[in-house]
């Protein structure tokens, strides 16, 4: 397998997106994004979808998510319905779940993704419900940090890297 310059630039895992191989699952997710956004916003939606796919191809999944959401923010009104938001997000969710099919244990990977997403999304919605954007943003970031740290600690335990509490 040859590693290209593009592979070196992209923020992707070599485990779930081996360099030098076309990520068909990711391509499929990008098509879903393009289709869902075109259906939602027509011409503008198609442009946003294509830019998101381009960002995915060049810089990887997290950058595609960020670019897509920033473009949707400037396009969609503030008071969008939950159906609109759900249709806009379906492609991004597919983009996140697509590489997990290559994981050593896909079932465990999908479960971890669902739990993580539910945890952070719940914290965000909770913040929006009781206060506003500031609290929601803070809770979303805190929940993300907590989730990453929790997996780190689980990893130390499973790899037996924690020192004994009592000598």
């Amino acid at each position: 397998m040859r590693t290209t310059t593009l592979d070196r630039l992209r923020a992707e895992s070599t485990l779930l997106a081996p360099p030098g191989r076309l990520d068909w699952a990711g391509v499929g997710a990008c098509l879903i994004i393009i289709a869902s956004l075109t259906g939602l916003l027509e011409g503008i939606g198609l442009a946003i979808g294509l830019l998101t796919a381009l960002a995915w191809l060049a810089f990887g999944t997290p950058y595609a998510i960020a670019v897509g959401h920033v473009l949707l923010v400037v396009t969609l009104p503030t008071e969008s319905s939950w159906q609109t938001i759900a249709l806009a997000e379906v492609g991004f969710v597919a983009l996140v779940l697509a590489p997990i099919v290559r994981a050593p244990r896909p079932g465990a990977g999908v479960l971890a993704a669902i739990l993580a997403g539910a945890f952070v999304a719940s914290a965000t919605l909770f913040g929006l419900a009781i206060s506003g954007l500031w609290l929601a943003a803070a809770l979303a970031l805190a929940a993300t940090a907590l989730g990453v740290y929790a997996v780190h600690r689980i990893g130390l335990v499973r790899l037996d890297l924690l020192p004994d509490a009592h000598p």
Binding site: M1, A11, E12, S13, T14, L15, L16, P18, G60, T61, P62, Y63, I65, A66, G68, H69, V70, L72, V73, V74, T78, I85, A88, E89, F92, V93, V96, P99, I100, A103, P104, R105, A108, G109, V110, A112, A113, A116, G117, V120, T124, L128, L133, A136, A137, A138, A140, L141, A143, T144, G147, V148, V151, H152, I154, G155, R158, L159, D160, L161
Partner: protein
């Protein structure tokens, strides 16, 4: 798991989206944060699963030509890392080479993505005697977003033995002598465990000294006195200047003298006598361990003796040291009868006899003996292990030890026994005879014993030459 810069940059996008949501007052931007978080945590979990699988199945083996080597030997070792199935992670394996070794290539091995095994053969040199164990190898796995390190493999053990010499000869004039070091009498009575004499009770004697058996038989009360057991300090002075490196690879002068020193150390330890060590190189005292009878001192002396090497000889034209004291005295005597301008110019420089002592004191072996006996004032045994390259200095060093009330035991490695091959056997035999005369001269000094140390086969060859020179008629040629 340590995030790489790529993952940190990706997580920073969450902060960017939060800022966009607040600045534009649009909650949809916040929806991107759970999506990115889900991506990051799901990748983290998949990476963890793969690391756990590798940790459970990866094996690292070190196979060596032999597990028992001698000091300074170089052996080949093959490091093999195996996993049951290929992985998409980049896996580096850093073998846990023992600390006290020199390895030809210590860089980590890498298992390529489509392979299940990697191996490398390296040369390992073992300069330190003892039992060495490989540490578990350090495995570093990364997928570009996360890095994790863990250990694998159980350490292989290797025993490194000091170089031993099988055919060592210790003796005098070709005859082997046993060197005894052990219990010693003090000729003093007092507290102790060995009974010495029985005498009449004198006022002041301790009651527990009373010998009841003798007192019952004799009209007066008698006491039994015991031999005082004293510590007899052993001062080892070892010369490891360049001339001590002469000989073959595994039996140099220093190798043989080292065995003698280790044997004496072992005997002293059994007697619980204090032992000290001073070693001398060309221009300095390399080691000075003060006498002690504790296990740490014995261990330190043993370690130093095992790792000691003869210094490399400096062959530069300027590397000539001062002349020996004997030659200096001869030069002064020769000047007395010379009335030339040359002699008149030099004579004042030899007039100051104080300079003679300073010149002697600059000699490493003399300095080593002096250091060994300072500031100790106890009587003991000074053992000097050296060769016959510096006879004048050795004589002065012996004199220094004797002046401190020490008994002196000298082990001399004659250069003629370590010079291969003997192209001119007759000349070699003459050199050995000269050495033997020198050794006898030292041994004739009161309080001094001098023994030769060398390879048995080389000595036997020289002695056979001597026997051949004595004809059946008793005529020596």
């Amino acid at each position: 798991m340590r995030p790489t810069r790529r993952l940190w940059a990706s997580l920073a996008l969450c902060v960017v989206l939060a800022a966009v949501a607040i600045i534009l007052a649009h909650p949809l931007a916040l929806a991107g944060i759970p999506v990115i978080a889900t991506w990051a945590i799901s990748h983290q979990w998949a990476f963890l699963e793969e690391c756990v699988a590798i940790d459970a199945s990866l094996t690292v083996e070190e196979s060596l030509e032999t597990h028992a080597v001698a000091v300074d030997d170089t052996t080949e070792a093959t490091i093999t890392a195996t996993i049951p199935r290929p992985t998409s992670l980049h896996v580096d394996i850093a073998p846990g080479f023992p600390v006290a070794t020199r390895v030809s290539n210590a860089t980590p091995l890498s298992i390529a993505r489509d392979l299940t095994q990697v191996n490398r053969t390296v040369d390992i040199t073992w300069p330190v005697a003892g039992r060495h164990r490989f540490d578990p190898a350090t495995i570093t796995a990364t997928d570009g977003l996360l890095t994790q390190s863990f250990t694998a493999g159980s350490g292989t053990a290797v025993t490194v033995e000091p170089r031993s010499v099988d055919d060592i000869h210790v003796g005098a004039g070709g005859e082997r002598h046993a060197v005894a070091y052990g219990d010693h009498q003090t000729d003093r009575t007092g507290p102790g465990t060995e009974p010495a004499t029985v005498r009449e009770y004198a006022p002041g004697d301790p009651a527990n000294w009373i010998d009841w058996n003798a007192s019952a038989r004799l009209p007066e009360i008698h006491v039994r006195e015991f031999q005082v057991e004293s510590d007899h300090a052993l001062h080892l002075v070892v010369d490891h200047r360049p001339s001590l490196a002469e000989g073959t690879d595994d039996r140099t002068k220093l190798d043989m003298l080292r065995l003698v020193a280790l044997s004496l150390l072992h005997s002293a330890r059994r007697s619980d006598d204090p032992v000290g060590l001073v070693t001398a190189t060309d221009d300095t005292i390399a080691t000075h361990i003060r006498p002690g009878a504790d296990p740490n001192t014995f261990a330190a002396i043993r370690r130093r003796l095992l790792v000691m090497r003869a210094d490399a000889r400096d062959t530069s034209p300027t590397a000539r040291g001062p002349i020996s004291a004997t030659k200096a005295r001869q030069a002064v005597t020769a000047l007395d009868d010379d009335d030339s301008a040359f002699a008149r110019t030099l004579r004042p420089y030899f007039a100051d006899s104080g300079a003679y002592h300073q010149r002697v004191a600059d000699r490493p072996l003399y300095e080593a003996v002096d250091a060994a006996l300072t500031p100790s004032g106890s009587r003991g045994l000074t053992v000097i292990l050296t060769d016959d390259e510096h006879p004048g200095e050795l004589t002065e060093a012996i004199g220094r030890a004797r002046s401190a009330g020490q008994s002196v035991l000298v082990f001399l490695a004659p250069t003629v026994l370590f010079t291969p091959p003997m192209a001119d056997p007759e000349a070699a035999y003459e050199r050995y005879v000269a050495f033997e005369e020198y050794r006898r001269e030292l041994a004739a000094t009161p309080g001094v014993s001098a023994l030769e140390v060398g390879p048995r086969d080389a000595l036997a060859e020289l002695l056979s030459i001597g026997r051949a020179r004595r004809t059946p008629g008793g005529v020596t040629t």
